[in-house]
């Protein structure tokens, strides 16, 4: 199948389907959106790749275009509502996630989509994620068009601003300081 985000490998969809069948509609998971979701109305949307950079690479100012793809991913719909995300690693491990971070990502997608100044037609949707610094961002890759656009999602590391549209080079420059701040000794947690 083909979408504006590229061709989706049916085996990846099948891996996600199999994993979702283990969690959706389970009565013991009623405290989670996936547990309350209706198995008959589950669908996937927005197939995308998740890209990552290491903190040391942020500190070195490595351009974001050098970020590595680490997973194939989707948002999970229950009817019309985004309830979760599903990611498949190159090794075939599927992780299903829900929570405020996923809600915020879905909100950012809708925000960008509703913005008349942002052209999403033909754009490849990506997600940039650096868990070490709590960075999650929507990335519109628009080769040959208006240029790439990155929009950080809720509670990014300061001074990165959630909801603001960044040019990749601009964000990369801001993340140099963030990277340095997070190159610290071990024996602790963030």
């Amino acid at each position: 199948m083909t979408t504006s985000t590229g061709t989706v490998d049916p085996s990846v969809v099948e891996a996600v389907r199999e994993r979702l069948s283990v969690v959706v509609g389970r009565p013991e998971l009623r405290h989670r959106k996936l547990g309350r979701a209706d198995p008959a109305t589950i669908a996937l949307t927005l197939p995308h790749r998740v890209y990552a950079l290491g903190v040391n690479e942020l500190a070195e100012g490595l351009p974001l275009r050098r970020a590595r793809p680490v997973a194939e991913a989707f948002l999970v719909l229950d009817g019309e509502a985004v309830v979760a995300a599903a990611e498949v690693s190159p090794e075939g491990h599927v992780t299903i996630s829900e929570g405020s971070a996923i809600d915020a990502l879905a909100g950012t997608v809708e925000q960008v989509d509703a913005d008349p100044d942002v052209g999403t037609e033909g754009a490849e949707v990506r997600v940039l994620r650096v868990p070490e610094v709590n960075l999650l961002a929507l990335w519109l890759h628009r080769p040959g068009g208006d240029g790439d656009l990155i929009v950080p999602v809720a509670r990014p590391p300061a001074p990165v601003q959630a909801g603001r549209r960044y040019d990749p080079d601009e964000l990369s420059a801001v993340l140099v300081d963030v990277g340095h701040r997070h190159l610290r000794p071990p024996e602790s947690g963030n």
């Binding site: 008959a40 197939p47 509670r155 300061a158």
Partner: protein, 258 residues
């Protein structure tokens, strides 16, 4: 639903067809009711009123076919600041166990653990934006804990969850050797061992244990460095001094204060 989400929608049928067929048969659906395709998906044309019943029955068959999830309905609050995962986890666990530290907010835990003043009025000031250990934060909110195996396996997770005890974990990111804390709140072993992780960065995740044990969390290289077995704090029982003296006197130990 917005354009991007609608344009990229991928139909998915997660209820195994055999269960739909079995449920339909039980509901008296005949071969005449069947059609080969529906929106590109295999399906059945169902008489009004019977479709929902078939799907509900099929869902019940699907649920019964898989092992149950063993989960504690735990609500992790998101960390309020970039480096406060230790405080968010500690506050979450204190609330779950209703310890004497359960009323503390993250900023207070941070201030007390770091020995910093004013973290609740300005959590961004340098003395409040420091990392700390989970042990210190758990001690601060009076959550008893002990060290578990690293990395833990299902044999260690299972009895903890059965006893309604949550597990803390610390992963150390490979790229910067800094740690991150989260909570294991459940498990499931079909078709392979998996755990539910509540992460203060805003995620409730269903993760394969093998992936975590092999050194990947959120598709990011890391090492599982610590496991924290938490438990219900001992309850303090208050006995009035005169009652205590009376019991002792009646047992022949004599009265008097301790």
């Amino acid at each position: 639903m917005a354009g991007l989400l609608e344009r990229n929608r991928i139909p998915l049928w997660i209820i195994p067809e055999k269960f739909v067929a079995e449920a339909a048969h039980r509901q008296g659906v005949t071969p005449d009711d069947l059609e080969a395709e529906r929106d590109g998906l295999p399906g059945v044309r169902l008489r009004p009123g019977i479709g929902r019943k078939v799907l509900d029955d099929a869902t019940a068959l699907m649920v019964a076919d898989r092992s149950a999830h063993h989960v504690i309905p735990f609500d992790m609050e998101d960390q309020c600041r970039e480096l406060w995962c230790y405080a968010a986890v500690a506050v979450g666990l204190a609330g779950y166990y209703a310890t004497s530290g359960a009323s503390k907010k993250q900023c207070r835990v941070v201030g007390e653990v770091l020995g910093a003043f004013g973290c609740c009025s300005d959590g961004d000031k340098p003395e409040c934006t420091k990392v700390a250990t989970l042990e210190a934060a758990l001690d601060n909110v009076r959550v008893p804990h002990s060290a578990g195996s690293v990395p833990a396996d299902l044999a260690e997770v299972e009895p903890q969850i059965t006893a309604l005890h949550l597990l803390g974990l610390r992963v150390e990111w490979t790229s910067n050797h800094m740690g991150h804390f989260a909570v294991i709140s459940g498990w499931q072993d079909d078709p392979e061992p998996s755990v539910w992780i509540d992460d203060p960065a805003g995620y409730h995740e269903f993760v394969k244990l093998a992936e975590l044990r092999a050194g990947t969390y959120r598709k990011t290289p890391c090492t599982w460095t610590d496991t924290y077995l938490t438990m219900v704090p001992p309850r303090r029982i208050r006995v009035p001094e005169d009652v205590w003296a009376q019991v002792r006197a009646e047992s022949g130990e004599g009265g008097g204060a301790r």
